[in-house]
Symmetry: C2
């Protein structure tokens, strides 16, 4: 009899990856380059260096090296909260009565509550190494801001966080975690920046968006000596750092000779999904294996499923470089739905290219059905999931139920990117039956897309 | 060179204890029996059976069997969130510049946020096995109520929780977690019970206490067919279930041949400390090893350090059996300090006897210094600790700093019983410099102790 797979597969500390995997190296069609919004020419390393740390610029532009060493200091930090467990969802399988075998990679067992710490420590480390004084950033749901605060506290860097206003108000406790880690937290849009004042003037009463908060954070970084801007998602460098998720997941599965048929992750800017699928996508790109890969996004902010693949501004204020990606338009302000981390108008250029090449699929799911999946998962698996992660749970459950109908014993891997301990306002709405399932109309989308920059590339 | 001890020592799933350890079996002086408040005679199994499940009554009264099998169903549930890691606090050691070696057993990596789940699933399991419909309980900080809700959701039992009012108000999100797991949550004291109405009449505006909430929960359990009462601390059975903490910690240390000099845990009712020290205390009682064992309590609720060892009511309403324990008097209502889980007037009879026999010591620490330790720990070890657990961190840091002065390389083990994700109101007060350090006056204590029942045993 084959060895029974335990509930949780932990790698040893020595098995934590010592290199990140750069999926771009294996992509035949590379992600489109970032463009200078003035010249519409690809951003040079020097231009990017005004906003980002030098070493991160190198990583951002590196489409060739498949493996990049993880500095020892980052490896040491990883040991504080990694390896993250790969969990066999025996209880969920039983509750569903499905022949499918469900695994999830759980990245929420740290105080930031999500996978965001994997890139936060990397970006803070390179900023510190460059002798900077501090970094600025935006945060939506708050996981990224918390992660960055933790990394900065550990390294002794200043940290200024612009937090999307709706999350700032719904999650006052997130703010306190960041403050406990010494960060300065400002609700966005704010009166403290020129772009914030402009956005507030044009959209009084706006609840903000990641796009607005990015503009403000970039403005402060560029205008403050010794500061650079860091970003928790979308960028190539972030997907690179997040590859530890997939590398660990794959190593854990390999220990037991398990190959997933299907890999599912939620997608906002793409950091979690991109990290989870990296090594599997690598195999797929190299023709070594095939996997069905599914990005799950909220129906309220459907970049993949209803957006356009085009050059667009990464931010609402249009101060950032242009990125070619699936986008709803940088002017699209999503409804204040509760999966704060998925409220972004764009998508990782790497994932956008892979999606456009037909290497992965996408599904949009509605909020109430997401929380139904979250509640079921919480009760049987004992972990209260983040609303973002619950998008992946929803589709994993749907697929497992299809297996129940067909009798197929598919192996499903999904990313449980975080916990929902700071999302109780949303859970309360769900518990009280007051959740809404807003879906943008075609007119809403047309409005956002009408403002795409006119770039012919 | 000896093998380097990893940051985190995980046992394998097979190494999760399959038996609980009952420290009472090795105690020369057994804990004093619970007394019937009417007859002042030891409670019989039959009498206890009106309040507690049958099998738990057996465990409560069992002073003889050193090991008790953990039923397979409970072992399976344990696999969802155990083994819990034993962490070597390399980062804390470095930050303190101490030659001491610091380890902590981290029990917070589950949605209940603490060790409470270890006993919750056991108590819920035996209730289910007995064919009951549901259970009632009290909760202070909310960890126990959350844990019990999770266990009941898993097994399909009803769960009614009386939550100390101050915590209910400071932690609305705890309530929502419990509701997500299907529990009914009532702030205590409430108008829904006779004893609640009486307490409110006598102490209008009271913020409640565990003692009040216990009375209400017992009243409802006894008055509702198919219900029993369960308790998250104090009782002998709870310490028995919590022995998994110490058994795992010891097994992890044994793997690397490490023997702690000192074991530190916070103490409210004693469940965390009692569980952590069990197997070590067993060795000490059998004369096989010696350990310095330190209970840490809040200066605002100092049962060990300023209480009296005497028979007292376990609850404010005086409906429960009498327990011999270190107590401040069941009428003592602690200040609304933030370590909600440590706001109990009494203490585990087992720990009380061990303390009275000189087998452990106790220290009382003030709130602000506790949060200073918590903040430092959060920043260097990456985990936001529960205020309760931070009492142990405070003394662990103090002891490590003593080692720095003396140059001693002591090995310190402490219990990190939980996370502080639901304690951000308290952290906010600390961040804003508004924390208070209330310490009861001698008159306050005399008032509580003047109401001890007159039992001459």
């Amino acid at each position: 009899m084959a060895e029974k797979i335990p509930y949780k597969i932990y790698l040893t500390e020595n098995e934590i990856p010592k290199q990140w995997y750069n999926v771009r190296a294996d992509m035949k069609n590379k992600p489109a380059p970032l463009l200078n919004p003035g010249t519409l020419e690809p951003m040079t390393a020097e231009e990017l260096g005004a906003v980002f740390c030098e070493e991160l610029v190198q990583q951002e532009l590196d489409n060739d090296n498949p493996y990049i060493d993880i500095p020892q200091e980052i490896q040491d930090f990883y040991k504080m909260y990694r390896p993250a467990p790969l969990v066999r969802a025996y209880c969920l399988e039983e509750a569903l009565g499905t022949p499918a075998k469900i695994y999830y990679k759980f990245e929420g067992n740290n105080t930031s509550g999500s996978h965001k710490l994997n890139s936060a420590i990397a970006q803070a480390y390179y900023a510190k190494k460059q002798g900077l004084k501090g970094v600025t950033t935006e945060t939506g749901a708050g996981q990224w801001g918390t992660a960055l605060s933790m990394a900065c506290a550990y390294l002794g860097l200043d940290c200024k966080v612009f937090m999307v206003k709706v999350s700032y108000e719904q999650k006052p406790f997130r703010r306190e975690v960041m403050r406990t880690y010494g960060a300065e937290v400002t609700p966005s849009p704010s009166e403290t920046t020129a772009i914030g004042r402009k956005i507030l003037e044009e959209n009084p009463g706006t609840t903000g968006s990641l796009g607005c908060a990015i503009s403000e954070a970039v403005e402060v970084a560029v205008g403050t000596p010794g500061y650079r801007y860091v970003l928790g998602s979308v960028l190539n460098q972030v997907l690179l750092h997040q590859s530890v998720i997939g590398l660990e997941a794959k190593a854990a599965l390999d220990k037991y000779g398990v190959k997933p048929d299907m890999i599912i992750g939620c997608a906002g800017g793409g950091s979690n999904l991109g990290g989870l699928i990296s090594p599997f996508m690598g195999e797929k790109l190299r023709g070594e294996a095939d996997y069905q890969i599914i990005a799950v996004e909220p129906a309220s902010c459907p970049s993949f499923t209803r957006g356009r693949y085009a050059y667009d501004f990464a931010d609402t204020g249009m101060v950032c470089p242009l990125a070619k990606m699936y986008t709803l338009g940088s002017g699209f302000i999503p409804s204040p739905n509760h999966a704060g981390g998925l409220r972004y108008h764009g998508m990782s250029p790497v994932l956008s290219q892979l999606y456009d090449d037909g290497l992965m699929e996408a599904r949009a799911v509605e909020q109430t059905s997401v929380f139904e999946a979250a509640e079921m998962f919480a009760r049987v698996e004992g972990i209260l999931p983040a609303p973002e992660s619950s998008h992946a749970i929803r589709v994993a459950i749907d697929e497992a139920l299809k297996c129940k109908e067909t009798g197929e014993e598919k192996t499903i891997l999904f990313g449980l990117s975080g916990t929902g301990y700071f999302d109780l306002v949303a859970y309360q709405k769900f518990n009280d039956g007051e959740m809404d399932d807003y879906i943008p109309t075609d007119e809403d989308l047309a409005r956002g897309l009408s403002k795409l920059p006119n770039v012919d590339r």
